[in-house]
């Protein structure tokens, strides 16, 4: 499902964020990406949805070499990947419904179908009936769950999360993580970058540890 083949990322200023990274993730696997801040976790995730491109080596997603993907094919790649951010990245001038519906609108779905799926996604994250609320009236944990609903509403085969529990207390964090675990049990490939080791150790999942841009052997 996901293959990194001797991937390096060097920024124009000479800073090497990733050095010779190789690993692969099977479809439906649940993987933690750990390491201190600045280890290259975010860069690695960004290379999967084409936000960053590798300087050397290849990234394969679902059998496609995306290091060579032309710019016009990037939207298609991203439509198959759900993303969750630490700061939620919700649109605060839109109600919850519009936020969650975004990937479906991009996919060009019928409004009736969008409504059905948005409600289903919201109920899955425990926010049934909240589609009319405004993001700023929600708590941090609720905002993050809206972000997760948005990331899964279009049922992408892969889900990326960058520090999804960064701003949440331990109980909420566990709740969010168990949500991700449920999605992986439904066959979604889940990759979560986090520095919350305590949480990682409490979960039965594979771990990729990054240190200064390199994968540490387990």
């Amino acid at each position: 499902m996901l293959v990194f083949d001797h991937v390096s990322k060097r920024y124009p200023n000479g800073y090497e964020a990733l050095s010779d990274v190789s690993f692969s993730v099977e479809a439906g696997e649940f993987v933690f990406l750990t390491g201190p801040s600045g280890a290259g976790k975010s860069t690695l995730l960004k290379m999967i949805n084409g936000v960053e491109r590798s300087s050397r080596g290849q990234v394969h997603v679902a059998g496609k070499n995306i290091s060579r993907l032309p710019a016009r094919k990037i939207p298609g790649l991203r439509q198959g990947i759900g993303v969750v951010f630490q700061n939620h990245q919700l649109l605060f001038d839109r109600p919850v419904y519009d936020n969650v519906a975004l990937p479906l609108v991009i996919a060009g779905m019928k409004p009736t179908e969008i409504g059905r799926r948005v409600r289903a996604a919201l109920s899955k994250v425990g926010l049934t009936g909240r589609e009319g609320d405004w993001p700023e009236t929600l708590s941090g944990g609720e905002q993050q769950r809206v972000g997760i609903a948005r990331a899964v509403v279009h049922r992408p085969p892969m889900l990326l999360a960058d520090e999804p529990t960064g701003n949440l207390d331990p109980d909420l964090s566990r709740e969010i993580m168990s949500l991700f675990l449920q999605f992986s049990q439904l066959g979604v490939t889940v990759l979560i970058a986090t520095h919350d080791l305590e949480l990682v150790e409490s979960m039965p999942a594979r771990r990729l540890q990054l240190q200064a841009g390199r994968i540490q052997s387990p």
């Binding site: 499902m1 479809a27 439906g28 949805n49 936000v51 997603v61 679902a62 059998g63 496609k64 016009r72 939207p75 298609g76 790649l77 991203r78 439509q79 198959g80 990947i81 993303v83 990245q89 649109l91 975004l102 990937p103 479906l104 609108v105 991009i106 996919a107 060009g108 779905m109 019928k110 409004p111 948005r150 279009h154 049922r155 992408p156 085969p157 892969m158 439904l186 066959g187 979604v188």
Partner: protein, 322 residues
């Protein structure tokens, strides 16, 4: 993503061409309404933009309407009322009366008016200073004059008519200001070119105004655009709402231009008609007709779409998720 490799779960990208076309047209229909209502949410800012575009569109159109009226045939009467036929025989003579009859019957002639020697003398002596000059003559030195308003509109036709009349019995000479007519059409030609240039400049200004307004909007929606691109919105998907915004800005601007033009014309029409009546002319300012109004709206909408295309496309491409 490769469909065969993703196997599990529904894949939203497994939609066929018809569905994609339906989705595309649905997005267009939806944007047609939603972009207008978004714009109407800020009525003050919208009105100002529409006004600026409306003024920029109405100026060259008002000028070209004025030019059209001036260059139209009727108005020549205002500036070049008639030709003067000087008689070589007394105006009461049979030759003169026969000439008068023939001119009145001629289809090339619109209006005929005889100014007798006596009338000419009175008119002449009323002009300051000439009274004394005429007193030096023992008898009236002025010939009778027939004023002829040609039905013919164009310069060459009027010249031909003048030559025909000049060849008739009892006619001394025919005078009309051919040079003035030629000068007028030359001036109109220059004005026309100036207007074209102005039209191009003002259209360019409208495109820039719309482009600039949209750029500000894009700057305000940077976050939304980045998120949309992160979730797989293509460049044209992201651009589409701005095309529709451009359309509404241009169309609304044209609507205001229409109001500005029609009310200006109505405002001017009274004084202009009074002026025209003093020249015995039926000259009148005409407001925009149906076809011209439709054309104006189409022009506004087109400039709006163009403004969006020209200035927004490259700018939107630069915005990429970080």
């Amino acid at each position: 993503m490769n469909e065969s490799a993703t196997g599990s779960g529904a894949n939203i990208r497994q939609i066929n061409r018809t569905d994609r076309l339906k989705a595309w047209s649905r997005h267009h229909r939806q944007l047609f309404r939603s972009t207008l209502s978004t714009l109407l949410n800020q009525p003050g800012a919208l009105l100002i933009t529409w006004l600026v575009i409306g003024i920029a569109l109405s100026l060259p159109i008002l000028l070209s309407l004025a030019l059209r009226e001036i260059s139209e045939a009727d108005t020549r009467q205002v500036i070049q009322p008639a030709m003067s036929v000087y008689l070589s025989v007394p105006s009461e003579s049979e030759t003169a009366q026969a000439l008068l009859q023939r001119l009145r019957a001629s289809s090339a002639v619109g209006e005929v008016r005889l100014i007798t020697e006596q009338a000419a003398l009175m008119e002449f002596s009323s002009l300051a200073g000439f009274g004394d000059v005429l007193n030096a003559f023992s008898e009236n030195p002025l010939p009778g004059i027939i004023e002829v308003v040609p039905r013919e509109r164009d310069g060459a036709g009027i010249k031909l008519l003048a030559q025909q009349i000049a060849g008739q019995d009892g006619v001394d000479q025919v005078s009309f200001d051919a040079a003035w007519l030629e000068r007028l059409s030359a001036i109109l030609g220059i004005l026309e070119r100036v207007l074209y240039a102005l039209g191009v400049l003002f259209s360019g200004a409208v495109i820039l105004i719309i482009g600039n307004t949209l750029r500000l909007t894009i700057e305000n929606q940077r976050g939304e655009i980045e998120i949309t691109k992160l979730f797989g919105g293509s460049d044209s998907f992201v651009q589409r709402p701005f095309i529709y915004r451009g359309f509404w800005l241009g169309f609304g601007g044209a609507l205001l231009a229409f109001l500005i033009i029609q009310s200006s014309l109505l405002y001017l029409s009274g004084p202009v008609e009074r002026l025209a009546q003093s020249y015995r002319s039926n000259f009148a300012l005409e407001t925009l007709n149906f076809g011209e109004s439709i054309g104006l709206f189409a022009l506004g909408a087109l400039l709006g779409i163009l403004g969006s295309w020209v200035s927004v496309w490259r700018y939107l491409k630069q915005i990429q998720p970080k």
